[in-house]
Symmetry: C2
Subunit: 425 residues, 2 copies
């Protein structure tokens, strides 16, 4: 008997049929003797559709109105899920972010949770109800609705789990856990039983899309155990928690990310203060710079490269156009065909030689390294995007991560999904 | 310079293009020097779609969840309208029922407004903003969202106009006012410049669908002037207010309603208490009985007929099945092909002979009267539904309501609607 928070994403509640499946799943947890709190995202593509409607009316919609608009998506899915549970003879009650007591700061579209009051949810749970909470939203000090940013429902789930002192926060999705690499790229990737918060953060930040980084950060800060598992089966997934029960491997997993692009500013005068000018201008224009590489100076000028999300390209170009004269640089070029491949593992701290082994492996496989960045538990290299899969696979093998079985990629048909879901019940 | 409340229905905000038109319209009112508060319904068929989703999950959805679900529709349209106004360089702010201070009782799905606090709206208006209020919804004493029932947005508009002490509540729709009869049925129908609350209530209750009865009742109670006008043109529509400026005609208009059905219970023992049993059973089963006709008794038994909305047929049948034995009636029959034609006019009070003239006119036109009911300002007859148009037309002519011009019915194409809307700007 435990108190569990179960989070279901937009795909899991995309249709009445899917919502029925989620209701069944929650009731099964309840029947197993647990107290159950669900957190849901908006149905399927709802949020995108609402964003599209807003874009048709205003190029730069007021943030307060936008948050209010988007928050309706989760309010629809939560009420429908509550209705589906009630239709099966169990008691349910839905809660908006406001009613769930999720207080945030006033940063619309990217609000941060500052407090969680869970009295109303506990009251419902104590009455034997399944509480259904709208993900992604909270309320600021003015009483206005805020949203937590894309994928914020994971963060809601962790925050609610923390507020309720829940035993575990189960995050359901269409993958059955965290893998040592993307199995579609490295077919010998292994599902991990446990991952530390630190490793999970580096994996998420390096392109492994299972969990939202903010949710993992929140979980680490407040020590909430996350269980990433499949919405389609009862199999155990991956636990993310402070101290994994087993000895950690040197490398936990290999992540890759093809969404970044690389800028190179050529012919920059090699003077103090130039890099500061470039990166403070980029930051001021909301460009999320990831890696920074300054090459060796020749003849008084140098090249500065950086990577950033492809989505920031326009803003990055604008910024550079504006400051090129000021910093007296010759030109800048953009390379969109890059991939970042990252080796992640807390075990790296106590195992020197990871970088050397990685470079050697990549070299043997004729993969050219365009840039390198490191953290105490991560080593990332930028390679040509055409070589992404080759890089992930050879590193996965070299660091002893290969499993004995081979992952078979397969696009599931609607019937197969349904069959899988039913089997999971 | 006035303070005006402008209400737009679901058709007027059905698409981003339509919402743009509404924004233009509101800004034109603002530019004319008025303080402007808008009230909007959900976009197009949104409410129906949400009802459909709920029905797919629960035959009898919990009322609290249902109201929360449906209230999202207006929250979408209000934020989109506010965004469209802002995109045109004017300030706007949206308000949910809660934020607009609309307090209701706790009757989910059919809540009654008990209080209106309009401080937040006035604050926005005083800052020069166009306030955009979600129609159809309020909040009960528990802080739960309630809805006012279908068409409740008209009521919201009148309530907000009352709370703000607005000069007028403009209700925009695809008709340009209140007519002396449905012009599609009686092509010589005239648009009325003014109608009293009483006449409007009888017309609404008798099938003229321009305005929601509850909204008119609310307006009468609190003396709010309504202006029913076209969303497509700047022409004046019809004012609904206490004392029309001109001498009233005997008959203001002829309404008709084909949505009712007629039940006849045959062979009812002619004893006291039987009718009471029948109608208290029907009321207990939520059947909205309209007209009641008890025919002359023959041989100790009598026939009781009543009309009710077609939507109540199933519940009415269930009720009758249950009590037939108890009241010892022989049988009951249902006639679905009926129409109620009503002559309405406050002037009837001081003009005897309306009934005689109506019956004579119908007789001359070979229209059989199946039932009659009256109020001080209304005379309704039930006729065979095939004779609806003939009945409306001959009465319209007989009571001197015909205009000189003939209404041309025409289904507008999408382009024509757009052209009309643009002309209206």
């Amino acid at each position: 008997m435990a108190l569990i928070v179960c989070k279901f994403g937009g795909t899991s509640v995309a249709s009445p049929e899917r919502i029925q499946m989620v209701a069944k799943r929650l009731i099964a947890r309840k029947q197993a003797g647990h107290d159950v709190v669900a957190v849901v995202s908006a149905m399927g593509k709802t949020t995108d559709e609402l964003v599209g409607l807003a874009a048709a009316l205003n190029d730069n919609p007021p943030a307060r109105e936008m948050d209010r608009l988007l928050s309706t998506g989760e309010q629809v899915s939560m009420t429908l899920l509550a209705m589906a549970i009630e239709a099966r003879g169990y008691k349910a009650m839905s809660f908006t972010g406001r009613q769930a007591g999720i207080e945030t700061d006033g940063t619309h579209a990217k609000a941060k949770i500052v407090k969680v009051h869970n009295e109303r949810i506990m009251e419902a749970v104590n009455k034997g109800m399944i509480a259904v909470v709208a993900g992604f939203q909270g309320i600021d000090a003015n009483g206005d609705i805020t949203t937590l940013g894309r994928g914020g429902s994971d963060t809601t789930a962790v925050a609610v789990a923390w507020g309720l002192n829940a035993d575990v926060c189960e995050i359901y999705s269409d993958v059955d856990g965290v893998y040592s690499a993307d199995p579609r790229v490295a077919p010998r990737a292994r599902k991990l039983d446990q991952v530390s918060y630190e490793d999970m953060l580096e994996l998420s930040g390096s392109g492994a899309g299972v969990l939202q980084m903010r949710a993992v950060e929140f979980a680490r800060k407040w020590n909430v155990v996350i269980h990433s598992r499949s919405a389609f089966s009862d199999a155990e997934g991956t636990y993310i928690k402070e101290e994994p029960d087993m000895e950690e491997a040197v490398i936990t997993g290999i992540a890759h990310d093809t969404s970044e692009i690389k800028f190179t500013i050529r012919g920059v005068p090699d003077m103090t203060g130039v890099a500061a000018k470039v990166f403070s201008a980029l930051a001021g224009n909301m460009v999320s710079v990831d890696m920074i590489i300054q090459n060796t100076s020749e003849s008084g000028t140098t090249d500065i490269s950086f990577t950033c999300p492809g989505a920031d390209e326009k803003r990055a170009r604008e910024t550079l156009e504006r400051i090129m004269g000021d910093i007296q640089a010759r030109e800048y070029v953009v390379d969109e065909d890059i991939a970042k491949v990252s080796m992640v593992g807390t075990g790296m701290k106590s195992s020197p030689g990871v970088a050397a082994k990685a470079f050697q492996t990549l070299g043997e496989n004729k993969i050219n390294i365009l840039a390198i960045s490191t953290s105490p538990i991560r080593l990332s290299v930028v390679v040509d995007s055409a070589q992404t899969n080759a890089a992930v696979r050879c590193l996965h093998t070299a660091f002893g991560l290969d499993s004995d079985s081979v992952f078979e990629e397969k696009q599931l048909s609607a019937e197969e999904v349904a069959a899988k879901m039913n089997k999971g019940r």
